[in-house]
Symmetry: C2
Subunit: 253 residues, 2 copies
Amino acid sequence: MNIILLERQELILNTVLLTDRRANHLVKVLQVSSGDSVRIGIIDGPQGFGTVTEICRHYPFQVRLEVQFPEEIKQDPEEKPFIDLLLALPRPIMLRRIFSQAAALGVENIFITHAQRVEKSFWNATLLNEEEYRPHLLQGLEQAVDTRVPKIHIHERFKPFIEDVLPEKARDYSHLLIAHPDSIAPLKNVILEKPEKILVAIGPEGGWIDYEMERFAESGFLAFSLGKRILKVDTAVIAIHGRLSERRDSFTF
Amino acid sequence: MNIILLERQELILNTVLLTDRRANHLVKVLQVSSGDSVRIGIIDGPQGFGTVTEICRHYPFQVRLEVQFPEEIKQDPEEKPFIDLLLALPRPIMLRRIFSQAAALGVENIFITHAQRVEKSFWNATLLNEEEYRPHLLQGLEQAVDTRVPKIHIHERFKPFIEDVLPEKARDYSHLLIAHPDSIAPLKNVILEKPEKILVAIGPEGGWIDYEMERFAESGFLAFSLGKRILKVDTAVIAIHGRLSERRDSFTF
């Protein structure tokens, strides 16, 4: 936990009383004392510092912080995530990891839809409820020191999603990309200028079927390949995020 | 399991009898029939095809394969991994994931050493024994369809490693790099020509200490930064592998 994240409504004037795993972390891991300062952030809001004003070191742990938001740690707009993900619903154990890892790497939106090779039972996962997935997103932000929670958009039916929802969303992007092992285009052939905002589609285990690839192509997605190695979806998400970030860096001076 | 990996000594003439989780996979997941062909590979050897000649579908499962190694699936030397990892020993649960993910992404060598911020108890992990870690490496290869097992080099003491072992190894690399959040150099500033072979050092949770950074600098390592976000080591390994791969691709035509 490299930043303590607070819900806005937890703040009373400029103080907050922590009693949960965040208090536990401050007392047991960071072993803070009264007067110490720790990094804090309001979820989907500014970052700042919290000064420990009261502390109970016995279980149940409690820590009271007085918070400040100095001007100088305003976030750099250049660091706003420029990658959105479009995933065929992965198996829940993998999706959980993807939520926290994607939040850590920085993405603004994650679209989740169906695909032929997605097991139908995955749609029953409790993880698809916000109260279940939000903690995993927050964990990623706590790791990476960010406050911007990725927005999750769940569209269980592929056809209405790609025909009715995606065309409007697509306008927000400079690049619509789809990872596909059959493609022979490396990333650099589909990103020819600095990407402002990328939506990248990543298929299920076994890949998208031809019908799905055609629908994506019709929607303006360009296929690219990462080479012949077949990666698990969670590994692919991170590797692709790294590659897109590096490709974007190549256009800055 | 996208390829069935065989130890060379399992082959009797050109047949092999599988009785373990590979037989289980063929019978239960792939549901092969007699005459079917599956992708196989000799560990640290060639890839080929196995034709099912006998099959027992009842527990304990057995599958006999007759194997062939056609000329046409010789591996492309361009695809030989060009990245080696140098890691401060991560916690075992994370190291296990790194072993399989690094094998899936493709690395040739993984050096593991100590650092000030590595918990001493991690060195007691049974995972540091070859019979424990090898299955995780093979899992990654089975996923990615490769036969080349990454070589693991364990050097428990940092100083002898960096002073006595590393200087000789360093000659094998075109680039010696170290990921460090305090650096302001993006990757593209430390990789100015097509990398033939990269050794990239990735620190422990909390990072390398100044003393360690100085020793790496003396050994010729150039520091680079991935930005301000703090990543877990296992996420960082994949993200850095992706960035290095993309950077290298930028030099090919």
